[in-house]
């Protein structure tokens, strides 16, 4: 009794205005019978001044009634309501969330003397229907106005009986013939409202079924309504082939159960293109389902939808339960393990973006393209290519989080991603992974010396371009794992061992095994199990490399050895036997030359002794400009 009701709330609600958490008294609650689906409860609420009868309880609150918490005369706080306008213009208030402040017992009785609120003829009070039974099967909108008009004829009468002391109950209603019909009439009217928005909201007249999950759609069931968010909308495309020409646009939608692609052709394009907006939620019903043409879509649904003349798309305001986008992000480091041409979703921070460039395709079409480098928590970087408008509009200057759904993985330059026509590119999306990435990047990510899966201009394949210094070998315990590690470094040759740099190898092609000198002019190869009168010289160098931090003994085989020394093994073999001085000279000249070494490091065990062995896989001259740029990058990173 002492809890004040929010005066004027009923009036405001009837006018369709928003009331902030009004406190109202429940005067009556009635269950509306309907054929399918959960029961619907109709409430009569009062604010002490007026009463509001066209008030519905959202089905998620049904438990309040079923557990007898909602008893007439209890006082409630309406935490969330939505206002619905029916096809005939009447308003219904749907209560989405409410708290019971005072039970009926505590309240005692009806507060005040509320009169039904009248909004010029179109009252919220229940209408009469002369016909006593009106089973609300699938009442088309047309049927609704009919009886309702008759209902309007005596609103007062109705209202009067409502404000009667007796709480509204089904049985007393039926007692009087007039009253019986209104309740049913109301029921009938109510069900279309309730039918479409299961969780309230939106006037979607005509759909009697409740909302179906996208995952349940199939071509064999034609009566369905879905509520989903548009995740990707394409632009209008026209085609012209032997059968004629036409235009189409397609979009993809997602709800809690899954996603599906929808296409509209010709006339439907005109009808729906401007209505459908990416990111918004709609009720959709009456479209054709058919097996998906996987060529045009990458969504995980066996079916796809085509809109036709009777299709209906109605905007929905209730977005709470629809996920924004269904993304299955793959960590960049894992991209190496995926097959080429796979369609994947990826998310990362855009470390850098190139300028947009214009390219002419094979079909002589000019298109814009932009390459970005994105990095994620795995520390790996991959290049993503954007096309067309997306490329032109992209701004990577703020190092935004970029999420791409449905990009194609290619093996161009190792591994790289390309945005397809059907891909969705989101910049700084509103999803938890984006926030995690942002936090990681700001804390540590920006300084990570990332390894790009996509080949850069510099030497070496993308996977192996791992710049280290010689001191890192010891500091990071490189090579200690199960697999050998590869790295590149810039180092200077300090010394190359002249002794045992050459060995006699089997002359057969591809066999480099050392041959044994049989002393009779023949050389035996154990691997080929043959004897030869000749051999080929092969180099096996033991060299000491150094940089500012450390030095390291490495092994160089034939190719890399020849690159370092600048002579072939044969020449050297010959020199060694003929001109000692010249032979020495070759080694001297190699000292203090600086190169880029690509090495393989591994912990090896030889007769109880474990040693970290480094082998040179490739020797390249130092590209000073590239090296300088890299050093500058490192300095900038350290300077942050």
């Amino acid at each position: 009794m002492n809890v004040p009701l929010t005066k004027g709330a009923v009036e405001a609600l009837c006018k369709g205005l928003d009331v902030d958490k009004p406190v109202l008294q429940l005067l009556n609650i009635r269950q509306i019978s309907n054929a399918s689906s959960p029961p619907r409860f109709r409430l009569m609420m009062s604010d002490g001044q007026h009463s509001l009868t066209s008030c519905l309880l959202a089905t998620q609150l049904n438990y309040l009634s079923e557990e007898n918490l909602l008893v007439p005369n209890c006082v409630c706080l309406l935490k969330k309501t939505t206002n619905n306008t029916l096809a005939d213009g009447r308003r219904v208030v749907v209560v989405m969330d409410m708290d019971i402040l005072k039970s009926a017992k505590e309240t005692g009785g009806k507060i005040g003397n509320p009169t039904p609120y009248n909004t010029d003829g179109k009252t919220s009070s229940p209408q009469k229907v002369s016909s006593s039974t009106y089973v609300p099967e699938s009442p088309p909108s047309a049927a609704v106005p009919g009886p309702s008009y008759r209902n309007y004829s005596s609103p007062r009468g109705r209202g009067g009986s409502f404000t009667g002391k007796t709480p509204m109950k089904a049985s007393p209603m039926k007692a009087s013939a007039i009253k019986a019909s209104p309740s049913k009439g109301l029921t009938m009217k109510v069900s279309p409202m309730k039918a479409s928005p299961m969780k309230a909201n939106s006037a979607s007249p005509g759909s009697s079924a409740k909302v179906n999950p996208i995952a349940s759609l199939n071509p064999y069931q034609s009566k369905w309504t879905i509520r989903a968010r548009v995740t990707n909308k394409s632009s209008i495309r026209t085609w012209s082939n032997s059968k004629g020409e036409g235009k189409l646009f397609s979009f993809e939608i997602v709800d809690e159960s899954g996603e599906i692609r929808i296409t509209a052709f010709n006339k439907e394009v005109d009808k729906f293109f401007s209505l459908v907006e990416q990111g918004k939620v709609y009720y959709i019903s009456k479209a054709t389902l058919k097996p998906a043409n996987k060529q045009y879509t990458t969504l995980k649904n066996d079916y796809e939808m085509t809109l036709h003349a009777h299709s209906s798309i109605v905007p929905c305001d209730d977005n709470q339960s629809i996920p924004t986008v269904h993304c299955d992000f793959v960590p960049i480091a894992e991209l190496e393990n995926r097959d080429k041409d796979a369609i994947i979703d990826v998310i990362g921070i855009c470390k850098s973006a190139e300028d947009v460039s214009r390219i002419t395709t094979k079909n002589s079409r000019e298109v814009s393209k932009r390459a970005l480098s994105i990095i994620d928590e795995t520390g790996k970087v991959v290049t993503v290519t954007l096309w067309g408008e997306e490329a032109e509009n992209f701004d990577g200057s703020t190092q935004p989080v970029v999420a791409i759904k449905g990009a194609r993985l290619s093996d161009f330059g190792g591994r790289s991603l390309s945005a397809l026509f059907s891909s969705t590119v989101m910049v700084n999306p509103d999803i938890p992974q984006a926030f995690r990435l942002r936090a990681w990047y700001d804390r540590e990510g920006f300084a990570v010396n990332s390894q790009s899966l996509t080949e850069t201009r510099s030497a070496g394949t993308g996977l192996n371009m791992n710049w280290k210094t010689l001191s890192d070998i010891k500091n990071e315990d490189m090579g200690h794992g199960e697999k050998a590690q590869y790295f590149s470094c810039v180092a200077t040759v300090l010394y190359i061992r002249k002794e045992n740099c050459l060995y006699q190898a089997c002359p057969s092609a591809d066999c480099n095994k050392k041959v044994i000198d049989q002393q009779n002019g023949l050389y035996r190869c154990e691997k080929c199990n043959k004897e030869f009168p000749n051999f080929k010289y092969r180099l096996l160098l033991s060299a000491n490399l150094a940089d500012f931090g450390d030095n390291q003994w490495v092994t160089c085989f034939q190719e890399t050895a020849e690159a370092l020394l600048g002579h072939s093994a044969e020449t050297l073999g010959h020199l060694r036997d003929t001109d000692e001085a010249a032979f020495d000279e070759v080694f001297q000249k190699a000292n203090f030359t600086t190169h880029i070494f690509k090495n393989r490091v591994k912990l090896e065990t030889y007769n109880d002794e474990s040693r970290v062995k480094v082998t040179v896989m490739e020797v390249q001259p130092v590209d000073h400009r590239e090296y300088s740029r890299r050093l500058l990058q490192n300095i900038y990173k350290l300077a942050r």
Partner: protein, 122 residues
């Protein structure tokens, strides 16, 4: 002037000229215009800014491309040349002036890591 060659000559670009007035410097830039007398010419640095260089004797050769000028900065911001080198474009790796400019900025931003000051006695 020969003593200039014994002191340290920090590498600078145009924006640093004003801070080194009266000091010996080393300036690397691209030759822009050569004065008809041959005694002065303008150079542009990696940032695109220009400076003027004066010579004691008029030029005897065609000057083009990138040059390295060692000299002193006058109060007017003009470099009085002690000696100069031409970094020939047809030999070796082409000189990347923008990259050089980046390096210059780093050297000047972190002088503690680039202690080029050598005792004058050499």
């Amino acid at each position: 002037m020969a003593s200039l060659l014994d002191t340290s000559k920090p590498r600078i670009n145009c924006s640093m000229l004003s801070q080194h007035i009266g000091r010996g410097v080393c300036f690397v830039g691209r030759v822009e215009k050569v004065h008809p007398t041959g005694k002065t010419f303008s150079v542009s640095d990696g940032e695109g800014k220009s400076a003027t260089v004066e010579l004691n004797e008029p030029l005897e050769e065609e000057l083009s491309g990138i040059v390295e000028v060692i000299g002193m900065v006058s109060s007017k911001g003009v470099i009085t040349t002690t000696t100069y080198n031409i970094l020939r474009e047809d030999k070796g790796i082409p000189f990347d002036l923008e990259l050089y400019n980046e390096a210059l900025k780093v050297i000047h931003d972190f002088p503690q890591y680039y202690p080029f000051e050598v005792a004058a006695s050499g």
